[in-house]
């Protein structure tokens, strides 16, 4: 089984199911939009009738930033709550949506519509929710604990350091270890979800253990596939950042243009998300 072929097939499957991307985009956009509306009014309240509004339209400026920080210094804690709580709800929402995404991608002969998408969401929600609870424990153990242990082993080198070099090496090493650990765990739970859908089993713990066995036997292949898709995400992000970096943003036309461009990027992200699942399903199917 050639990894690259799986990857390409994943892209094709994702493209065939473009409707899912549209559903996900609408949900992401509306959810974010609701969160940003109060921000808009908060900014607009002060700035729309001030010349500072013009400065703000011109770009980032430490004068208006200073005014904002001073004005909103008392609600900074409230802002943290405003970020955390909706994020948790969104996480729950995605546990629900994953059922639809994987459910639809795993039956590639049937056309996606709202009905079958959401009925999949509903069908798999409780299984995925249980899996999510397991995953939290695993994240804590592996990414939290193991990362901490590795960190404290590495600390032996930094503790006695007499130049900055060991710190630079260790902190970069820690970033790499963190990312690798994280990708492995994340990939593992992708396959656990796929297994639950394809085998249509309700025994979450048993299927999770099966997934462990499945991945153990062809670990480097699956991981290479996962990292290849990560690379695609990285490339899309860099293209976005580089282009947005040089785009002017100070007229209404360009504000609109950048808005469109940003939404294309979000589409790109969602597309990559589909490619992850589609390729992983393809890979899983081949071996099971």
């Amino acid at each position: 089984m050639r990894i690259f072929k799986v990857f390409i097939n994943g892209i094709l499957t994702a493209n065939n199911n473009y409707k899912i991307i549209i559903y996900l985009w609408v949900i992401n956009f509306l959810y974010s939009f609701m969160l940003v509306v109060p921000i808009y009014f908060l900014i607009n309240m002060d700035i729309s009738k001030s010349l500072m509004g013009e400065r703000m339209a011109q770009g980032f400026d430490l004068f208006w930033l200073g005014d904002f920080i001073y004005k909103f210094r008392h609600i900074s804690l409230a802002l943290i709550g405003w970020v955390i709580f909706p994020a948790l709800i969104y996480l729950l929402l995605y546990i629900f949506l994953n059922g639809g995404i994987i459910g639809r991608l795993s039956v590639n002969f049937e056309k996606v519509n709202l009905k079958n998408f959401f009925s999949d969401c509903g069908q798999f929600f409780w299984r995925f929710f249980k899996l999510f609870l397991i995953s939290i424990i695993v994240y804590i153990i592996f990414v939290g604990l193991i990362y901490k242990i590795i960190g404290s082993i590495l600390e032996i080198f930094t503790k006695r350091a007499v130049t900055e070099w060991p710190l630079i090496i260790v902190s970069n090493l820690k970033i790499i270890i963190f990312l690798l650990l994280f990708t492995i765990i994340n990939m593992f739970f992708d396959y656990a979800k796929i297994r639950l859908v394809i085998s249509n089993s309700k025994k979450v713990l048993r299927e999770t253990l099966f997934t462990l066995n499945f991945l153990r036997r062809r670990f480097f292949k699956v991981w290479a596939l996962y990292l290849l898709i990560c690379l695609l995400f990285l490339i899309i992000t860099i293209i976005y950042l580089e282009t947005a970096h040089i785009m002017p943003k100070n007229t209404m036309f360009f504000i609109f243009l950048i808005f469109i461009f940003q939404q294309i990027y979000i589409f790109g992200r969602l597309w990559v998300r589909l490619i992850f699942f589609a390729s992983e399903i393809e890979f899983y199917r081949y071996f099971v």
């Binding site: 992401n28 956009f29 959810y31 974010s32 940003v36 921000i39 808009y40 900014i43 607009n44 002060d46 700035i47 729309s48 009738k49 001030s50 010349l51 500072m52 509004g53 400065r55 703000m56 339209a57 770009g59 980032f60 430490l62 004068f63 208006w64 200073g66 005014d67 920080i69 001073y70 004005k71 210094r73 970020v83 909706p86 994020a87 969104y90 996480l91 995605y94 995925f128 999510f132 939290i136 994240y139 350091a161 007499v162 130049t163 070099w165 710190l167 630079i168 820690k174 970033i175 994340n186 950042l241 970096h245 943003k249 100070n250 209404m252 504000i255 940003q262 979000i266 992200r269 969602l270």
Partner: protein
Amino acid sequence: MRIKIIHILISIFLMHPLILYSQDKKLIDKVKYEIWVELDHQNRMLYGREIISWLNDTEDEISDFWFHLYWNAFKNEKSAVLEESREEQFYRIKVKDGEWGWIDVRNIRIVDGADLTPTIQFVSPDEPKRIDDQTVIKVILPKPLKPGEWINFEIIFEAKIPRTVLRAGYYHNAYFIAQWFPKPGVYEEGKGWNCHQYHLTSEFYADFAEFKVHITVPQEFVVGASGKLISLKENKEKGTVTYIYWQNHIHDFAWTADPDYIKIERLFIADKEVSKEEYREVAKILNLPLEDIKLKDVKMILLINPEHKNQIERHFKALRIAIKYHGLWYGPYPYETITMVDPPFRSRCGGMEYPTLFTAGTRIFQSKKVLSPEGVIVHEFGHGYWYGMCANNEFEEAWLDEGINTYSTGKILAKAYGPSSFFIRIGGIPYTRYIDSVKYYDFQLDRILGIQIVKFDPIVKKSWKFYNSASYGLNVYQRASTCLHTLERLLGEDIMLKVLRTFHMKYRFKHPNTQDFISVVNEVSGRDMRWFFNELFFKANEFDYGVSSLISKKIKTARGVFDKNGKKEEITSKMAKEIDKKIKEPRYLTIVKVKRFGEAKLGGDVKLKVKVVFEDGTEEIKYWDGKSRWNEFRFIKKTKAKYAVIDPENIFLIDSNITNNSLKLKPSRKGALRWSNKVLFWIQNFLQYVSIFS
């Protein structure tokens, strides 16, 4: 401090031969130190002996003598520094077991006289009382010291070097030795000893002195110190080297030793660094003869760590810029040497100033777009001009040093380098990509920080008595600097330069206070600016003026009953409309209300400019003294107003709300849209990142 010439003459000839060292005949240091110190690297100890000669240049008879023993701040958790740190929210320092430091006076006597050791007592003069603090001692003299007399002490001391937690100490093989020897406080005529304990948020105060210091270290150590190296003796048998450093007209002495330092010496050649054109330009602004502007050559000594070798040129370039602009603007650098120390890794002594020596600080990876280490080099060198030569009492009025220096650092960095970029450091590597389009000047950053802290403390306050360390820092650095930028905008850049030049040269080698600074401002500007300092330096009041209302309406024909030709005539709504229709050039009434939102008030001859711009492009300018809570201005014009703005040139940088300084008639949503759009995108991405865990 006033020096009585006759006393000095007598003392020169009768009492103190050391005075002949002094190069500057006009200026006599009232304290002379000769210190012999040996570093015991194995045991992390210093063994020292010092001869202190001290002149009573006051009219008082002095019966006791106070000394700082700063290192006892690291002796135990009962010291003021460590207690204050434990009571603090933001600024915690912790000494680990076995890493304490302390200093003991083994013996103190008057040379050829009484042993004062039995009279030693610890004193804690500052509130709140911390009676177990041991950073100040006093001794009782057998007979009072008369005005004009010198006294000579011999002190034997030993000190355990702390693992650095605050400015001085060791890490690995590196030593940074500061605040290390028993040091007299400052005796103030009629007031007594000004000798504060070592506090968490305060720096130092001492008399100008002449130092001769013999430093003995194991031979493998590279040494740097205040002043200039006058000789060096090797002791092959013991494997040590003794360096002798000398400097007059300084009020502190610091040194450092580390076998790993790379030591490089370069010359600042004034004629190469400054063009004739630059000299002429500054001379013209300051209205001074060219010879007063001329700089002297300076020997620059850099002690740098091997891993920062590739930044040697960056260090020297920044130092040359610092010597040049401080010299041109505030007065030529008077000393022969300047030693710049790249603090050894983890030595926690970076970014600190001492006379003719300072510590900078850098990292292995630095971005060329970011002014680091340049900022810290210019800043710490700059302290040599304010704390160093205009030696204010940093315990009591820290802003005179930190505030002025933050201001002057910003001016010099802007002039020599232009704006800086933001960066983020990940894994020790700085990244500026995607955020480097945002450039900023120091004064902008100072304002953001400076306006946040109002209402806690005024800028002028005893350093350890601020609400917390954040209030101390933000007030004496950034808020003071922002006020000085405001002052500059009020007086004009050239006058401000003259103010600082005059202040510096008038108080060079003296101890100025805030009142002295205010006097110079008034004298040089020819204006009474006392109100400015009363409102912004001595009170914790918010400064915020703004436009609170803008109304602009067509003037309509008035309805109602009017007396006309002895008869009553009613103008009805219909009639009024008809009349209005016939008017070819309608007129508009504009009413602008300006308001003082903050407690801080304008004063003196200063008025706020109020500018109203109309739709036809015409402008009206009015002035308001800003003393009342609000004021209004009325205009009758052919067009409606577009917007009104108070302080359109942003002279009052200290205004904590610039947004309310202007008011438009019609709102524009462009700014809010642009940034809400950006926030929308951030939220969309953030949520997608969160969903990875689903």
